[in-house]
Symmetry: C2
Subunit: 696 residues, 2 copies
């Protein structure tokens, strides 16, 4: 058993025995051992965005954006719990052998709760999408799962909300970029998920972002770290810098002149742990009078508080008993499949889906993402021992049902030529012939981390990883056009982490980067074993030209709350093989209830969405805002269920221009249903949300 | 229906209507269309070493060296037949859409019947091993399969025996290398497989090698192409150059001074088709008086004879009817699995294999080749739509039997660090913990084409692709030592294409590069569903220091026929889970018969091997030579079968120093059994071959 107070006391006691030099070493991500005090080495850097990452074999869940599409806070908590179980199993196994290397600790630098405000951002697929409330709920779910139920006081593992704050591209200039942001957008859009992580989930770590915000570099920002995080929010955990972000202070942001000054700026604002090497200059900063021993001690105590809370020095920590065999289990694989199934979004369907396994004799599976590992894993991934590609999943299903599969890669992801020295589109005739000989074409297209990813990743085709267009690479468009021209029913599957504009397809599914069981999940959805229930956590736009400049951080004309133009597919959209009808909408302060009926002929589940709009306040966003969501659970044809939707505690507030959350204007309209209450959403969904006016 | 005479006549007739310029264009590998004559474009370059390669989806058989280990001429013919079926299905489908690109024709530049005389050769895994007779039989089998039964006279596809001749490394200097070779070695070792391909299998194409032989560049060698191939052997097919081999004449071999001279030297010696661009200078060569129109015409006629024999201009060719759906079928996959099962060689076994699926609860699968696609495909591969890695195969089997699988990559293939920025051996503790929690460790180690491959391939770690050692890369040795140190039973699986010296393992299996069904095959062997029956087609040496210089093409102290030192595992070696006993050896001129009994307690099959040694001739190689082999078929415990082993028609001849095959010395000893008649082989095999002396 341990409490934060106890951990803090033990940290104080331990740190009090350290020399200044020793304390300084413990602020580096790769903290060395202090043998005389029985302190082992500890590497703070570990990753677990959608499964324990970069640490060998682990269950790989769908990429974060895909899990977001499940709109399922409870499931996110289960995922977080599995991640912590696997992380513990690995930590126990590794540390028993003295292996305390990078990526082998219990401080997971996930989740990424940045707002995916622009579809061009290469790392957008690491996030839970564009909505602050959805992001808050899923972040809280994930963090609670990772950190455990807290009964003994020990953390199962430590989560880390990142990147604090106002961080969503461009990747190319992230090390020198200054995000200029007004207080309303800051508090309404960019901070809520961090605030929820701190206040509701007691997140143990916060990572500062690379960029500046209104002139201050995030990892040394008085405003963000002192005034807001530790001031307003009374945050008790530790702060870590993004990797090699502190050297940006003098190298690229140029707000300091020397490494020692940069270290000092970060430390004095409460950045406790440095991913990077700038804190190697901490003693220099001390000698230069830039930092005090008290500051070093305070950060060191916060770091050790986390280590005590993780039970790293205690034999009674219940998580020490998690065996290595708790890693990569069949049960975890089943959860990965369930998440993939819940995550996939049916954008459109003229009736071709679901495929009837008794009628379909031959399917053509084509496209560069059909048999691609990259299309399954997004970024920040571990090693799956049981990766089922989209093709492999379809083949396995078809093998059981006597259905022939014809496969063609079709083209490269970006390159029209697959085989060295061949002509452009060298797989096109193969793909056409697959289609010609099939009853239906399943075209698996999209992107992967080489086309949307992180700045500096060696795998990026471009330096930055950002997208420059919402269209598929030209060769994939050529492929889809050719498939369409065969006249065969065409199902387009988008393995992607963001908004794409793909016109082709009698039916279109967004599979996201679907993790190790993605192929199995896709097959079950295609053939109707599972009814799709995912909803878009981001707006799908027509084109980048409809959007503000990528570097403009104002929310004006961004995301479903502020975008006023026509969209391709709205936030919250996602079809089913059955039809649902909402009825009997009631509202309390903290919850709505809606009666949902399955009015179609197939079992399925869906997501009830509640949106609210202040009808008079000048601070209200132009369009209704998500304030609640809940999965219905499985409904059989004809079945009705009463769904209680918990509401955002800030549901009936607005954020004024000073960034204050206030009640301004008492008249609200509230909508509950299966989509947003706008024309396009309703047209796609086919069922208008229920509307109620209330006075708050 | 067509005959060669008819095809030749039609070729003559067609070519007679061409201008000189047109004829010259038809000698290039990418022959353009001649529309006025109704001649479509044709790209001569296609590959099919172990399945149709570089042309999209196709069944991927084990790499050639693995298929050689099956010692099964009939199965090679089946494989060749499947390749031709798939090649035709693709050709029909592609050409119907006007797609006549590179790798889309019916002239397959396989098999590679070079002699794998030195384990360092990076391309050795493309061959059928080190023995001329085994290589001849398997080459003939493959070619017959590819070219079809000939009933209608049409070729199902055209095979190509390569690289003619005396070509087996080094890769690094292949474009300037001069293989110095005596006549005895030439005729005894390097030429027989080509002679068999021509005389027994009517191979339709021969590819000249890059190197020189005794001063003459192979693609322009009067000795090889005129005197031997078209002279002594009366070869009727066409000759193609290796790719960009003819420009080597002036650029690297420096036997000519200009492209025109190089083109002329190749053409005048009968190299009909140029893979490369040197024949773009053919008209220049003509204008310079270096070649005659008759020479151009003759080569053009040979090229078109092949195209007519392929039925490319005929509607009655029965192979035109092969539909696209004949590609990548379940039946072909089953043959790929059967070949993989027959190919795997059990080097040693202390009884740990087969694993009992009812007793084993947990297996650890570790190693960089466990879940590697590269470890399945060797080189010159197509795209499998159903690749089952070793791990995937084991997992699928274990899932059916309730056995837990723990997986760790263990290390990189060459790099001890798997994760960027981590310490060396960063997966070692994971692998150890997998082992610690398992009943048995299956370590999948070895190489892939990045470590043994072809010169110039971008994927090579080194420029050349040759091996410099017979040891595993150090990180893999470290992994195996760590696995051994756990004390758990250790099964070492070598995914490799050549001789490696790997000491670790209670049991050791050579899986080769096992193709798309390799994982399924391996699992069935590990758990005793299939009894291993593969035999080494190459000697496994202790170390390269035991061998002559790599550039020395003399057979002295090379391969089992001439190597006199101690070997690690002999040519022909391969254990079974049961024991066999040979008895009742009789001999006719053209066949031996042996009675084989399964004296153990498990069903299985094996390979009967017959070796002969002339007891008096000074031209006899130092050790008995393989003159016959045959698979027994499945034998149940206690079952006995009489196996007839067809003998090499040259079994009782020797090759003298002039390269003449002669009868010299009448006294022969002949051995029949389950291994070579030497001490090491017998010690490993446990059953001494039967011996007979005869006078011929």
């Amino acid at each position: 058993m341990i409490s934060r107070q106890e951990a803090q006391a033990r940290a104080r006691e331990l740190v009090s025995q350290m020399t200044l030099e020793e304390k300084a070493t413990q602020l580096r991500f790769n903290s060395p051992a202090i043998e005389r005090l029985g302190v082992p080495a500890y590497n703070w850097w570990n990753e677990a965005l959608h499964g324990v990452a970069r640490c060998g074999t682990a269950t790989m869940f769908p990429q974060a954006i895909g899990m977001a599409a499940a709109f399922d806070e409870k499931a996110m908590e289960q995922v977080g719990d599995v991640i912590a179980t696997e992380g513990r199993a690995k930590y126990n196994a590794h540390s028993a052998l003295g292996d305390r290397d990078l990526y082998k600790g219990l401080t997971f630098w996930s989740p990424n709760v940045n707002i995916f405000r622009d579809p061009r951002w290469g790392r957008g697929h690491e996030t839970y999408g564009e909505d602050p409330y959805l992001t808050s709920r899923l972040g809280v779910g994930y963090i609670k799962g990772v950190q455990g139920d807290g009964k003994s006081g020990y953390l199962k593992a430590a989560a880390c909300a990142k990147h604090f704050a106002v961080h969503s591209g461009p990747e190319a200039n992230r090390h020198e970029f200054d995000a200029i942001i007004n207080q309303k957008d800051l508090w309404e859009t960019y901070l809520p998920a961090f605030e929820a992580a701190v206040k509701e989930a007691d997140v143990e770590a916060i990572m500062g972002a690379y960029n500046r915000v209104n002139g201050e570099p995030c990892c040394g920002s008085k405003t963000l770290l002192k005034d807001i995080l530790r001031g307003k929010w009374a945050y008790q955990g530790h702060v870590v810098s993004d990797c090699w972000a502190i050297c940006n202070f003098h190298q690229t942001h140029k707000v300091t002149s020397t490494p020692a000054e940069s270290a000092a700026l970060a430390l004095e604002n409460g950045c406790d742990v440095n991913c990077g090497s700038t804190y190697l200059n901490m003693l220099q900063a001390y000698q230069d009078g830039l930092v005090t021993e008290e500051q070093i001690t305070a950060s060191c105590e916060r770091a050790f508080t986390t280590r005590f809370l993780l039970g790293l020095f205690d034999e009674d920590c219940e998580y020490n008993a998690i065996p290595y065999t708790a890693n990569d289990t069949d049960e975890h694989d089943a959860l990965a499949r369930e998440m993939a199934e819940k995550s996939m979004v049916l954008l459109k369907n003229n009736g071709v889906l679901p495929l009837d396994p008794h009628k379909v004799k031959t399917v053509a599976v084509v496209g560069p993402n059909a048999n691609s590992i990259g299309a399954m894993r997004g970024n920040y991934y571990g090693t799956s021992s049981r990766m089922t590609t989209l093709l492999a999943g379809i083949r396995a299903y078809c093998a059981q049902h006597g259905i022939r599969v014809l496969y063609s890669e079709g083209c490269g992801l970006l390159n029209p030529t697959v085989e060295f020295m061949c002509a452009a589109n060298d797989r096109l005739s193969e793909a056409i012939q697959c289609a010609n000989h099939a009853d239906v074409v399943i075209a698996c297209v999209g992107l992967d981390e080489t086309l949307e990813g992180e700045q500096g990743d060696q795998s990026n085709y471009s330096a930055s990883g950002d997208k420059t267009t919402l269209m598929l690479p030209e060769c994939q468009q050529t492929l889809l056009n050719a498939m369409e021209a065969t006249g065969k029913p065409l199902v387009t599957v988008l393995a992607v982490g963001s908004s794409l504009n793909v016109p082709q397809g009698d039916a279109q599914l967004v599979a996201w980067y679907s993790g190790q069981a993605g192929g199995t999940a896709l097959a079950r959805i295609l053939f109707g074993e599972v009814n799709p229930s995912g909803k878009l956590p981001v707006t799908f736009y027509h084109k980048t030209e409809d959007l503000p400049d990528f570097e403009d951080y104002s929310m004006k004309n961004r995301t479903y709350r502020y975008f006023t133009g026509d969209v391709l597919y709205p936030f919250g959209h996602g079809l089913s093989y059955t039809t649902f009808h909402a009825d009997g909408f009631t509202l309390r302060q903290d919850a709505a209830t809606v009666s949902i009926s399955n009015t179609g002929d197939k079992a399925g589940e869906t997501v009830v969405q509640v949106y609210a709009r202040n009808m008079t306040s000048s601070f209200a966003p132009p369009r209704p805002v998500l304030v609640g969501f809940a999965r219905t659970g499985m409904l059989w044809p004809g079945e009705t269920t009463l769904v209680e939707v918990k509401l955002d505690k800030n549901a009936f507030t607005v954020v004024n221009d000073e960034g204050e959350r206030v009640q301004d204007g008492a008249q609200w309209e509230v909508f509950a249903g299966l989509c947003q209450p706008d024309e396009k959403s309703v047209q796609l969904c086919g069922d208008e949300p229920l509307r109620m006016e209330i006075e708050v």
